[in-house]
Symmetry: C2
Subunit: 200 residues, 2 copies
DNA sequence: CCCTCATGTAAGCATTGATAACATCGCAAA
DNA sequence: TTTGCGATGTTATCAATGCTTACATGAGGG
C-alpha cells in the first residue's frame, strides 16, 4: 500500500493521520513535517493540504486520536474494579502510565493550542467530569467523606497531572523508574493524598 | 540604545537575550525568531549567531535566566518565614504563582531539551534539594513526622508541579481564578496533602 | 602605531509551510 | 453509455526561517 499505482491514493487522510500519530509518539510534535508525511505516503508535497487546511489542524486531529486512546486506557483500567474508590485509583495509575509511555501524545492532548480550539477541550472536560462523578459516587456509598468534591477532585487531579508531567519532563526522580515502580509510586502518592482527604 | 551609530553594537548579546526573554514571556517560545531579534537590535540577521551558536543555545540561556528568576521568587517567598514548614508552604505558593504568571518561562525551564543539556538540570536539582532539606529540617524540628522524606518530597512536588501545570495548560478549573484564589488553592491543596502526610 | 581578533555585514543555501493553476478520475445524472 | 463536475492529486512557486561562508570594520593590547 506504500507504493501507489492509481492517481488517487484512496485513503490518504487516514494514512497521513496515522503516520503523524506515529511520528508524534516516537519523535515528538516538532518532528512532524508535512512534506515528510507526503513523501512517506508516496504523494506530492501539496496533497496533504487537500485533507488538512494547515499543519495545526492535522496536529489537532492527532491530539483527538490520542485523547481517544487515553480515554480508552482509563476505561479499561476502571473496567475490572468494583467500587468507585478502586476505579478512581486505577484510573489515576492508568493516567500516569499513559503519560510515561506516550509523553509526546500526552503533551499534545493538553497543549493549549489544540485544547483552546474547542472540541478537544470538551473531550478533556468529559474525562474530568467522569472523575468527579466517581468521587460523588464514592461519597454516596460512604467510601469518601462528604468534603467538598470539587476541591477533592481538583487536588487529586493536580497530583495525578503533576506525576504524569514529571514523567513527560523526564524529572530526575522518576526518570529511571520501571513501569512497575511508576505504578507503585502513583498508588502510594494518591494514597498519601487520600489519607489527607479522609479515606481509610 | 535601540538605534546604533557605531559599527559594533556594544552589548548585543545582552540585548538579544533580554529581547528573547521578553518574547518568550509574552508570546511563547515559538515566537522567538532569530531574524526578528536581530532586526529589533538594529543588526544584521547573521549577527546573533556570533553570540549564540544556534537558536537552541539562545533558548537555553533564556531558560537559565528564567530559572534564576524562579529561584529568586522562591527565596523571597521563604524569606519572611520562621519554621521549615511555613517556608515550605510559602515556596509552594510562589512556585505555582510563577507558573501562573509566566507560563511560557515556566515551561521553558522544564523543557526537556534545555534540561537534558546539563547545567539547567543542575539548577533544577538544587531547587529540589532545597525542598528536601526543608522537609528533613522540619522532621528534625518535630514539625513533620519521620516518614520517608523522599516520598513526601516527591508527592509534594508532584502536587505542586501539577497545580503549576494546570495554570500553564489553562486548565478549565483554574483558568478564571484570580491571583488570590490561586494562592488560596495552592495552600488548601498542599494542606490537604500535608494532612495526609501527618502534619497537624 | 599597527595588527589581530572579536564582532559585525552581505549574500546565499536548504528546508519548510502554504498557495495557485492545472491534471486526473470516480461517480452520478442525463 | 456518455458527460461533466467535484474531489483529489501534481507542478511550480512564494515567502520566511535557521544557518553558513566570505568579507568588512574597528577596538584595544603589544
Amino acid at each position: 500500500m506504500n507504493a501507489r499505482e492509481t492517481y488517487h491514493h484512496g485513503s490518504l487522510r487516514e494514512t497521513l493521520l496515522e503516520a503523524a500519530f506515529e511520528t508524534v509518539d516516537s519523535k515528538g510534535v516538532d518532528a512532524v513535517r508535512m512534506r515528510a508525511l507526503a513523501r512517506a505516503a508516496g504523494v506530492s508535497s501539496a496533497a496533504p493540504f487537500r485533507h488538512f487546511p494547515d499543519r495545526q489542524v492535522l496536529l489537532d486531529a492527532v491530539a483527538a486520536r490520542a485523547a481517544e486512546q487515553l480515554d480508552r486506557a482509563l476505561d479499561e483500567a476502571a473496567a475490572g474494579c468494583e467500587d468507585a474508590l478502586t476505579q478512581f485509583r486505577a484510573m489515576t495509575v492508568a493516567y500516569v502510565r499513559f503519560a510515561a509511555e506516550h509523553p509526546a501524545l500526552f503533551e499534545l492532548v493538553h497543549s493549549t493550542d489544540a485544547v483552546h480550539g474547542g472540541f478537544l477541550g470538551e473531550v478533556n472536560d468529559e474525562r474530568r467530569l467522569k472523575l468527579i462523578a466517581l468521587i460523588i459516587e464514592g461519597q454516596n456509598a460512604g467510601l469518601i467523606p462528604e468534603t467538598d468534591p470539587e476541591l477533592i477532585a481538583l487536588t487529586s487531579e493536580a497530583l495525578t497531572h503533576g506525576l504524569a508531567r514529571m514523567f513527560v519532563d523526564r524529572h530526575p526522580r522518576v526518570r529511571h523508574l520501571s513501569s512497575e515502580d511508576a505504578r507503585r509510586l502513583a498508588l502510594t502518592a494518591t494514597h498519601l493524598l487520600q489519607t489527607g482527604i479522609g479515606l481509610s
